[in-house]
């Protein structure tokens, strides 16, 4: 019934799913797991605090976001970070600007923003119509508009988590020039080096997806982070075995994974 060549993918998915459920259940029952710190996510409070001290806004972008394309999970991860940024901004009374590319996230961002202010006990201070700004759904028109916001409003912090393309360096360099502290994250391989060079903190690939779980510190989320690390270990082991077997002249592991 399973399409040829996708059997092992199916098995891996089921295995990850079951392991995640077991880990979540165990953690709910009191099992403790420790994780390495993610500097980029720990720095969010520092970035918002800096903006509060300087009396300048915080800028957030989730890149060329979409909820229907290949990078939808990364957009969801970006929205999770926005929820946390909005909460911190509500707590420290810092204006936040969310530059929106794809219109699909506007209602979600509005709701996250209002929820953040509600959670901090300041619903009356929420101004979603000023914070959530749709700019354009055209890549370079969007880039120009974000540059304009950076130059005119000079945010003290710039947080970028989502799918970024060629505009990533334009953003990073512009905000660097206006003196903003920058936290950036993406899973798009060719943009990570740009962020690593220019930004103060970088979230690399999986760290973006872990953001929601890491920030909320929910036991259910911690379980999935544990399985994520376990999966990486399995991938490393398979990679080493595969390299050794291939060097020895057999492609058994490759054939096994192609089942």
């Amino acid at each position: 019934m399973i399409v040829s060549g996708r059997f092992m993918e199916f098995v891996a998915l089921i295995l990850i799913w079951v392991l995640a459920m077991i880990a979540i259940d165990k953690i709910k029952k009191g099992w403790t797991v420790s994780f390495r710190r993610i500097a980029g996510l720990d720095a969010l409070e520092e970035a918002v605090g800096r903006a509060a001290e300087m009396g300048r806004p915080v800028h957030f972008t989730s890149g060329l976001n979409s909820l229907t394309g290949t990078w939808a999970p990364l957009t969801v991860a970006g929205l999770a970070v926005f929820g946390e940024v909005a909460r911190l901004c509500a707590r420290y009374r810092v204006p936040v600007i969310y530059s929106v590319y794809g219109t699909q996230v506007i209602p979600i961002a509005h709701e996250l923003y209002k929820q953040a202010f509600l959670a901090e006990g300041r619903p009356e201070e929420a101004k979603p119509e000023e914070a959530i700004r749709y700019l354009s759904s055209s890549q370079f028109a969007y880039a120009a508009a974000v540059q304009g916001i950076a130059e005119r409003e000079r945010p003290a912090a710039n947080i970028m988590v989502g799918p970024f393309y060629a505009e990533s360096l334009i953003f990073a360099e512009t905000f660097y020039r206006v003196g903003a502290i920058q936290v950036a994250g993406t899973a798009r391989l060719y943009q990570i080096p740009f962020f690593a060079i220019v930004c103060d903190y970088v979230l690399i690939g999986e760290e973006c997806y872990a953001a929601g779980a890491y920030l909320t510190k929910d036991p259910a989320h911690t379980g999935s982070l544990f399985v994520q690390d376990l999966g990486k270990m399995v991938a490393i082991v398979l990679g080493v075995i595969g390299a050794l077997l291939t060097t020895a002249g057999t492609k058994a592991i490759v054939e096994f994974l192609k089942l």
């Binding site: 700004r133 749709y134 360099e173």
Partner: protein
């Protein structure tokens, strides 16, 4: 609004739709033959069309958002901003009028030439300008990155230098070994690092998907509970 409606219904819908799309990937081949495969493919296509249609509805949110923000800037005469906002609203209205006037699907074809002209000679030219400005940003980023202050920065400087030089005609003509070194770095060191990031990213995306289907990740619904 009841709790069941606000909390559980969206998660149930997400779970059912997500499972259908996952099953479709695993049981429908490129050329479906069996009746169940054809049915699943049709269901998947229909759901994708629904998603695209729903996404298209949100364009209205964008239009309203832009109109509200920029009309407020114009009415308040926000310093350093209002004239940009006024220009944006003016151009947006012009593009909508000319665009509708040149839409053959609506049976109108009076301004197709004007619309194409504006798209080609204004919009595309401005987009191209923005894209080309990237060269200057890359240069200034390189200037900062390629400074040998630490061991990592020195390694970056050496690799960056080799990669850059391997693309120059002089090195290609007089020192072709540099090209081989650059290719080796790209083929083995860069690719293996990229694969590591890719595997980690894929695992992260899978687990985020599982959390979403199980109702543990609710950020996409606009709430953090």
């Amino acid at each position: 609004m009841s709790l069941a409606y606000r909390r559980h219904l969206p998660i149930i819908i997400t779970f059912i739709m997500g499972i259908i799309m996952i099953l479709q990937y695993f049981i429908v081949p490129k050329q479906p033959v069996e009746p169940y495969q054809i049915t699943m493919q049709k269901v998947g296509e229909t759901l994708t069309n629904w998603a695209n249609l729903l996404a298209a509805f949100t364009i209205g949110f964008g239009m309203v958002n832009i109109a509200l923000i920029h009309s407020r800037h114009v009415s308040r005469k926000t310093p350093g901003q209002w004239y940009y906002s006024a220009w944006l609203l003016f151009v947006a209205v012009i593009m909508v009028i000319v665009g509708i006037g040149g839409e053959p699907a609506l049976g109108i074809n009076v301004s197709k030439y004007q619309y194409d002209w504006m798209t080609t000679y204004v919009f595309a030219a401005l987009s191209g300008t923005m894209y080309s400005s990237l060269a200057f940003y890359i240069t200034s980023a390189c200037y900062r990155a390629f400074r040998a202050r630490t061991i990592e920065a020195t390694a970056l400087l050496i690799v960056g230098f080799i990669t850059l030089m391997s693309r120059t005609p002089a090195f290609q003509a007089y020192l072709p070994q540099v090209i081989e070194v650059a290719d080796w770095i790209n083929k083995y060191i860069v690719k293996s690092s990229f694969r590591g990031i890719l595997i980690g990213g894929a695992l992260g995306a899978i687990l985020l998907g599982i959390r979403t289907l199980m109702g543990m990740e609710t950020g996409y619904l606009g709430r953090r509970d």
